[in-house]
Homo-oligomer: 249 residues x 8
C-alpha cells in the first residue's frame, strides 16, 4: 500500500465521501490480506518505503502469481527472488509484462519506473566470473529500488592490480557491495581503500573447505577492515536492499 | 596523518619552503612507520577519515603505548579496543589523559572533541542486561567518531511490548545497532519496524547451543527482514564504526 | 491392540470360554508380531493411548502395506508419515480408503472417527508460506489424535503486527505449535504472549547459514521465553503428537 | 504484578477512589520499570502466570538485588538462576530470607508459599549422579511454581532394570522430566513406557564426543519415541518451567 | 594367496623342483601385483587370514572385475562391497557364479564354502526396519568369513520389551553387532545386558539433527556401557569383519 | 554381588536355612541399592562378570567413597576412573589400601588378586610420549580385569621402522589397543600387520585442527584396515574393558 | 603475455618503430582485458612464470572458450580445470587441438611443448584406486608445467609393504605429492621416509565420518612428520602447481 | 646420528678395527633407543637431514632433558618446541648453554653453528603484531636449519600499500612464509605477486567466527592463488621446516 492510496482514503474520510467504518474495513483489508497460504503485508510500503518482496523458493508459480495479483493493485513495483526459469514462465503467463532476469533468477513487475533516490552511486564488485549471478541479484535489486548502480567483475586478490585500475570508481561510490567466494578476501582489501560502508556478500562458489560459502562468510566477518558488514551466503538481494537503505537521502 | 598536516606540507613545497625531496621523505616516513612489532598506518586518516584503531588483545601495554606515542603526533584521537583494566592502567601511566571505559574495555585519547558529523542519530539497542558491554563498545565508538548516539537496554523479544514503548525513538533514528545474544531475534523485529539500515551484533551471551554466539550470528544472517547487515560476534566496535560510515553526510 | 480387544480376551478367560494357555498364545502373538522386516508393537495402544506410527522413509510401499495389514485388525486408526505420492498410490491400491495428504506427505487410515479428547484447542502457527508442509503434518497429526485444531499461516516477525491481529486466538489455545525456518524467532515472540506450553518446530527452509534448519533449531533452544520446548527439524508429526499428549484430559 | 494488585487498582477506578489518569500512570510505571541496566517486566505475572525470572549469569550481585528490590513490591515469589555461591551471599546480605540452593545454583525469595496448582505429579528422573545439579534446578523450579514433584536419580540405560523397579511411579506421573548426559538415551526408553509428555534435558556431562552436551541433545531430538520435546543443554530451569505450564489445570 | 599355495611353492623349492630364483620371482609377483590402477595385495590372506576386500564405490565394473580376475587364481573367496545393481550385473557377466546380495549391495564369489571357524554365534541386531541394509552387510560378511550368524530386526528402544523377548539369544551370543540410526541408543541397552563385546554400527537413517548418522555415532561412542566399540557410519562390513576377528578360536 | 554370594543365599533357601521371603528381600536390596545420589548396581558382576566401575568426574570424594563402601561388601575389586590426586587422597583416607595410579588417574581397591583369565596377551601401543596417560589407563584396566598385558610406547608413523622392530610382539598378541593423537594413523598401520582385533583409542593430544581429538577419532573410524573398532577420545578405560571382554576364554 | 611479446614491444619503442603512446595502449590492453564476464590477467605469465589457469566449474563452455581465445594470442599453453566431458566437447568444437583428459577433467591447449624445467622428478603417489582422478590432475598439471613426473597408485597404509617396494623411487624424487582419502595417513608415512618436501592432497573419497574429505585434510595438517604442507580437498591442480614452483631451478 | 658418526663406524668395520657384529649392535642401539617413555629416533638425521625435534607440550622438563641427553651425543643441534618459560628454566639447569626464545617458546641447543645451506632467502611475513610469536617460531626454525632468513611484520590487507613498499624483498625471496590470523587473506595477495612457493600459516588470533584459527586456515586452503600450501594453525615450526626443505640445494 503506497502512501498515495492511504492519503486518498483518509481524505475521503475527512471530506465525508466515505464513512470511518468503511475506511476502517478497507484499511484492515489492505493492511494484511490473508490468502490462506500467505498474509500479504500491504503496510510494508508505508513502514519501510518498499513493498514486501516475494521469496520464490518453496513457493509454487500459482502461489507467487496469487501474491502478485494481491499486491499489484496497491504497489508500483513487485520483486520476486529465487524464481527459476520454469516458474518464471508460468508467472509471466499471467503477468506478461513482468521481466525475468535469468542470471539473477529474479522477476520484476512494475507499473512505472522507480523514482530516483539515493545520495550517490552503489558499486557492485565481484571477485570472479562464477560470482556473477549473486552480483547481478544485488545489482538489479539496487536498481529497481531507484539507485544509480555500477559494477566491476572478476578482480580477485590473486591479481590485485586488476582492482587498482578501478581506484577512482571505488573512491567515488557512496556504498560498495563486494561479492566473493572461496577465501572471501576481496571485501577486506576494498574496504581498506575507501571511506564508505562496504556490504560483503559471501558466495557458495568453491569446493572442499569452502564449505558452501561458510569460509568466505567467516573470513568477511573477521575482516581486519572495520567498515565492513555482512549478509548471508549468496544473498545478493539482501545486499542490494540494505545498500539501498544506506544510500537513501 | 590528518588532512591539515598533509596540506601544510604540500603548501611548503608549493612555496619553496621545503624541497620536494625532503617532503617525499617525510611523507614516506609518515605514511607507514615501522616500529619493529608494528607498521603504523599514518595514511589511514586520509584514506578513511578516521585513524587506525589499536586492537588491544594480544598486545602488551608497552606495545599499545608505543603505537599511541607514534600516532599522537599526527592524530586528534586514538582508540584502543579490548584493553583490560590492568593494561589500561599501565598505558595511562604514560598517557594520563587517556580515558578508560571499563564496561566497554576501551581506551580513548583525544586532543580535541570530535567534530560533529552524521546526518542523524545512531540508536543502540540491547536485548538484555548481559549484552551491555558490547552495546557500550558500539555506543562509545560511534560517539568518539562524532555522532549523536542514544541507547535502549533490555527490551528482548520475550516481552516485546517493552520495545514498542520506544517506537518513536526507533522511527527517528538514522542508523540502528541492535545487540543480542541467545536466539538473536531482536534485529529482525526491530528491522521490521523501521525503514533505515540495521547493523546487527550477535553476542556470546548464552549457554548450551548458543555456541558462543554462533546461533545468534546465524539467526541474524537469516533475518527475514531485509534491511539487516551483520558484524562478528561481540564486535561492538565494528558496529559503531560501520554505523558511523553510514551516518556520514 | 486397543483396550477392548484385550478386555474381551481376558473376560473369556475369566468365564472359561478360553483357556489361559490359548489366551497367552494370542497375547504373545498380538503383542509383538514379527514380520521379518518389522516387529509390530501391538501393545503400544495400550501403553501410550495411540498405536505405533509408521515412519515411511526408507520403507518400501510393500513393507508399509504389510505393517498396515498387520495393524488393521487391531487398531481403529493407522498413521504413516514421510510417504511420497508414488508410494501412497501403491499403498492405496491395497487400502483404497486410506486418505493421502500430499502437502503433509501423510497417509491416514481409520475405521472410525477419532473419539474427541483434549482439554482445549491446539493452535498451529507457521512463520511463512514455505513452512506450510511441516505445519500441515502437525495439524493432521493432532486432528487424527482427536484434538480440536486451528491454524494461522505466514505471520513471521518481519511484520509482527500480522501476528498481533490474532492475539485472542493465541490466548485461548491450550497448546501452541509454532513452525518457523530461517532465524526461527517466532516461537520466542509467541511464547512471550501466552501462559501455555509452546512446542517449537524448526524447518529446513532457508539457505546459506540456515544450515538446513540447524540455525532455527538452535535459536529455538536458546529462546529467552521459558515456556518453549523443541522437536527435531521438520518434525511436524512429533510436535502434533506431543501437543496431543499435553492436551489430553 | 499479580492479578490481585491489578484488580484492586481497577476497582478503585471503578469506585472513583482513584482517577483513570492516576491509574494509567501507575499501570505504565508498573508494567515496565526501567532501571537503566534492565527493563523489569511487571506485566509478566499477568500474561504468563509467573513473574519474570532473573538469569544470574553475567549480572552483578548488585544488579540482581536491584531487580529483586524492584520486583518484591509486586510479586509473591522471585526466582534467580545461575547464581554462584559468592553472588548469592552478597544478595542475601540484602534479602536475608532469600533461600539459596547451592547444588542447583538458584536463589528463591518468597513472601508466601506457592498456591498449589497442577493436575498431577511432575517426576524428575536423572540418568547419573553427575546429572544431579541440572535435575535439582528442574525440581526446585517446578516446586516453586506450585507443583507436586518427585525424583529418581542414577537409573541410566547401562542397567536398565534399575529404571523398571520404578515403573509405577513413572506410570502415575502427569509430566516427566528426564535429565541425561553422555549418549542421552534415557528419555527414549522412559517415553516408550508412558503415555504422558516427556521433557528431555541434555546435560554437558561426558567427555570427548559428548561435545559439551550436543550429542545428548541431538540424540534426544532424534528420539524414536514421539512424546518427547527437548530444552537447551543444562537447562533444568526451562524444563521445570515448561513442565509446570503443561501440568497447570 | 592362501597358505596352501605358499606351502606348495616352498616345498617345490625344498625338493628342488623349482629354483629359489624362480620361486622368488613368483613370490614377488604374487605378493603385490600392480594392475596400473591397483596394487593387489596377495599377501593379505597370509597376514590376516582373509583376502583383501574390494571397496566398490568409485571403481568401475571393469576395475572390479579386473581385480577379481587377478585374485581368483589365488583365493578361495572374493568379497566386493558397495556395489550397486548395475555394476553387479556387469561383473556377473564375467563372473557368472558370483552371487549378488542387493539389500546389502555386496558381491560374493567363492570357489568353496568357507571353512567353519569361530568360537560361537555372531548375533546381528537392528533397531529398525530401515537399518536392514547395513545389518545385512554385517550379516553376510560374518557368514562369508565362516561364522555362525543370527539376526533380530526392529527392536528399537521406544518399545524396549520387544528386545527383552530375545534375552536368551542375547546371552548366548559370542559377539554382538548392534545396528541403529536416529538416537543410536540400542547398543547401550544391549551391552548392559550381556558380558560379551558389542560392536556398534551407526546408520545414516534419520533426518534433521541425525546429521547423516553423526548423532548415532557420537551417542554410541559415549555409551555408558563399557563393552562397546564402534565402527564408521553405515559400515556393516567393518562390523562383520571385526566381529569375525573376535570370534576366531 | 559376585556369584558365590548369590549361590550361598540360594542354597540357604534350598536347605530351608532361610525363607524365600527373606531371601527375596536381600536380593532386592542387594541388586540395586539406592544411596540417594546413586543406585549401586550390585547385579552387574553377575550380568557382566565385572562390577560397576565408578566414573570419578563430577563426583565428590565423599560420593566416591560412599559408593565404594556400598560395593566393598559384595565385590572383590573396585575401580574408579578420572579421579584427580586430591580426591584420591581423600578417598584413601577412608580406604587406605586403595592404590592410586597418578599417570592414569585411577583408583583401584581389591581384596584379592584378580583370577587370571584371557586367552592371550593384551598389547597396548602408544604413538607418542604424550599419549602415555591414556595408554596407562587401558593398561591398568586390562591388568585389573585379569589379563596378561604388555606395552610399547612412542612408535609413531613418522619413523615407522621403530614399530617394525616389535613385529613379533605384535604378531603374538591376542588383542591390540593402539593409542594415538594428532593424525591418528597408527591403528591403520598396526592393523594392517596383524590378524587380530585392534581397539583404537584417539587422544586429545595435538593442537589446531587436531580439534581436541576429533581428527584422530574420525581418522580411526575411516581406517582402511578392517579389523579396527574405536572407542571415545581419551577413553583408555573403555579400550581396556572391551579388550578384556574380547580376550575372555 | 609471455616475456618475448613484451620484449619485442619494448624494443620497437626503443628503436622508434612504435611510439610510447601506442605501446602503452597495447600494454594496458594486454595486461588486463575485460571480457564483461572476466578480466583476463595477461600479466600473470610475467609475474608468475605461468599463465592464468581457467577454473571451469560454474563457467559456461562459451565463457571458457572466450577466455581461451583471448589468451591464445599471448600464451604458449592454456590449462582449464574442472571441465566436464560435455563442456569439453563444446570447447573442442572451437579449439580442436585442445586435449581433454577425462579422468582428470582437464583441458589442455598448447602451441608448443613446455620447455623442460625443474631440478628433479615430481613423484605423485595415490593411496587407493579411487584417488586416481585427483592424482591425475596433479600429474598432468606438473607435466604441462615442464616437469619430469612419475606415479605410484594404490599403496595405502593397510598394506604398507606395497609402499616399501618403491623406496628408491621415493628417495630419488625432488618433490612428492601424496594423494589420499579416508584417514589420510599416507603422507605422514611417506614424509617420514624422505628428506624432501611432501605436498599432501586430501580427497573426498570415503563415507560417514570421512566428512567429504575433511577428516583426511585435518589428519594431514596434524601430520607428525614435519616436511608436509597441504592443499585443499581434491585440489590435485594446486598440488601440481605448487610442486612445480618448488621444483623450479 | 649424523653422517660422520655413521661413516666412522663403517670405516672401522672396513679396516677391521671393529667386528661387523659389534657394529651391528651399536647401529641397532643408536637407531632407536628406548627410554621407556620415548623411542629416540637416531636415524632421523640420516633419513631426513635434520634430527628429531622435541614437541614439548605434554612432556615434563625431565622427559625433555632426558631425550636431549640421549640425543646430544649424536647430534650437532637439538630443537624443542612449545616449551614454556618454567620448563625451559628447568631444562637449562641441566643444559646451561641451551638458548631459550620466549616469544617463540623454543629451546635450542647446538654444539656448532649450522652449516649454511639453502638456495636463497626464506622470507617470513606476518599480517599483524599479534601474529609475531608464530612468525618467530618459523623464523628461528629456518635459521637453525641453516637458512638465510628475513622478516616483515604487520602488513595486513586493511592497508595493503604497507606490503607494496616491500615488493623487492618479496620478489627476491626463494621461499615465503606468510603468517596471518582473522580472515587469513594475506597469503593470497602475497602469492599473487611472486613466482615462488608460499607456505601459509594460519594463527589462532581473532575472536568470534575466527574459530580459533579455523577461518584463516580454510581461507588459505581456498586461496585463489595456486602457489600456496598450508600447515596447521599456529604451526610456525612446521612452516619453517618445510620451507627449509624447499630451500635446500
Amino acid at each position: 500500500m503506497n502512501k498515495d492510496v492511504l492519503l486518498k482514503l483518509l481524505q475521503e474520510v475527512a471530506t465525508g465521501t466515505q464513512t470511518p467504518q468503511s475506511a476502517a474495513q478497507q484499511l484492515e483489508y489492505l493492511a494484511c490480506q490473508d490468502l490462506g497460504y500467505a498474509h500479504v503485508d500491504h503496510h510494508r510500503s508505508l513502514r519501510k518505503g518498499f513493498p514486501e518482496v516475494i521469496y520464490g523458493e518453496g513457493k509454487s508459480a500459482e502461489q507467487i502469481a496469487g501474491i502478485m495479483a494481491c499486491m499489484s493493485s496497491q504497489e508500483r513495483v513487485i520483486l520476486a527472488t529465487r524464481v527459476d526459469a520454469g516458474k518464471a514462465r508460468d508467472v509471466q503467463g499471467r503477468f506478461p509484462d513482468a521481466q525475468y532476469h535469468p542470471e539473477a533468477r529474479m522477476l520484476v513487475w512494475s507499473s512505472a519506473p522507480p523514482p530516483p533516490q539515493g545520495r550517490g552511486t552503489v558499486l557492485v564488485i565481484a571477485a570472479g566470473t562464477s560470482d556473477l549471478p549473486v552480483a547481478m541479484e544485488a545489482y538489479i535489486t539496487a536498481q529497481v529500488m531507484g539507485n544509480q548502480v555500477e559494477k566491476i567483475i572478476d578482480v580477485g586478490v590473486a591479481g590485485i592490480h586488476r582492482l587498482f585500475r578501478h581506484r577512482e570508481m571505488l573512491a567515488s561510490a557512496s556504498v560498495l557491495i563486494v561479492v566473493a567466494g572461496m577465501e572471501g578476501a576481496l571485501p577486506s582489501v576494498v574496504a581498506g581503500m575507501v571511506s564508505r560502508p562496504v556490504i560483503a556478500v559471501p558466495t557458495s562458489i568453491g569446493y572442499g573447505v569452502s564449505l558452501g560459502g561458510l569460509t568466505a562468510l567467516f573470513a568477511m566477518l573477521n575482516s581486519c577492515s572495520s567498515n565492513v558488514a555482512v549478509v548471508n551466503i549468496d544473498n545478493g538481494f539482501g545486499a542490494g536492499y540494505v545498500a539501498s537503505m544506506i544510500n537513501r537521502a
